[in-house]
Symmetry: none
Subunit: 201 residues, 2 copies
Amino acid sequence: MASTTLCKAGPMMSPNLQKGSHLVESKPAKCSFSIERILGLETKKTFTSSLSKHHRPWMDQSNIRAPVAADNQGWKLPVMSYNLPIQVGTVRHLLEKESAAIYDKCCNGGERLTYKRELSWYRGRRPRTAFTRNQIEILENVFRVNSYPGIDVREELANKLSLDEDRIQIWFQNRRAKLKRSHRESQFLMVKDTLPANIQE
Amino acid sequence: MASTTLCKAGPMMSPNLQKGSHLVESKPAKCSFSIERILGLETKKTFTSSLSKHHRPWMDQSNIRAPVAADNQGWKLPVMSYNLPIQVGTVRHLLEKESAAIYDKCCNGGERLTYKRELSWYRGRRPRTAFTRNQIEILENVFRVNSYPGIDVREELANKLSLDEDRIQIWFQNRRAKLKRSHRESQFLMVKDTLPANIQE
DNA sequence: TTATAATTTAATATG
DNA sequence: CATATTAAATTATT
């Protein structure tokens, strides 16, 4: 690993973090996530007040201490654009054609699907909620009875558990996804185990 | 159902969850969200059984001779895997002594896998991939150009490097985390020096 | 012990 | 709401 730790705490990286979008300059203009676009978003520091779709109360100064759960202390404002691509010219160790091919894929063609994610970081991400054991216990118990609690139940849970109703909803969403995943996995394993007949001892 | 394991393979896991909703008693006895109410809201869905994405291909028989990487030699699928005495859904969360017993029974002698590895496999963890220096070099080079390679690039890399595409994806995930970590650190160091933070404000 | 591959899950985005 | 994806936080291996 030590062979090419290039980006690690490089002297040039962190200063850029403080300067906002300057980092973007170092990549080629032809990238479809254009500088303009990023800059455009960059200027929207007032975004939080727009109240449109993305309300992010946890970005309010007053709410930095997340009222959320037991221990979410120590949340800091998001770091921006730490991962924007760096100068392509620095790629020397790839074989020529490999570099070319990969570069084409990265910066010339498609491949832009992840940049919406990246943009979201400009707006900050809610600090991950760490549910307590007790909270999860209760959530699980309710989940077993009803994996689709309505708003009223969610509100009650929120009350009881001192959580935002939003957290409850997300939790159930994720929990349902998990259940479904595990079903898929079980089925897969069962299919797999059915093929060899020597299962039965 | 076996899927209510929240806390990883931790010792406490969730034995309580199997007991039904008794645990609700750990909070004030008066639950305003009554079971009846919850039941009333219940609207179960039938989960579709799509086996599209197999979750643990390395547990698959057809992959016993891991075609995976250049140098993952030495990893073999344990013999005992074919007569799992336990329900599939619970495989990954066996207690240690259970695993030990099974290990003793099935793998006494012959196998040259270490106990730990055996246990690890049995509990469903993919054997750690050891990337070669060259693989890492190329991955690092691509990372500098694009830290969010899409599926195309990942596949191409997988091809070139004789790795699973999944390994590539995980690698980039971990690499981004590492970069972010290092940024956090250097940013912290820098805050002491200067107060440039509000430049663009 | 450290670095990092692998896992789990909360949060985000999309349809 | 389902689904896919990502980051955060861990676990655990080397």
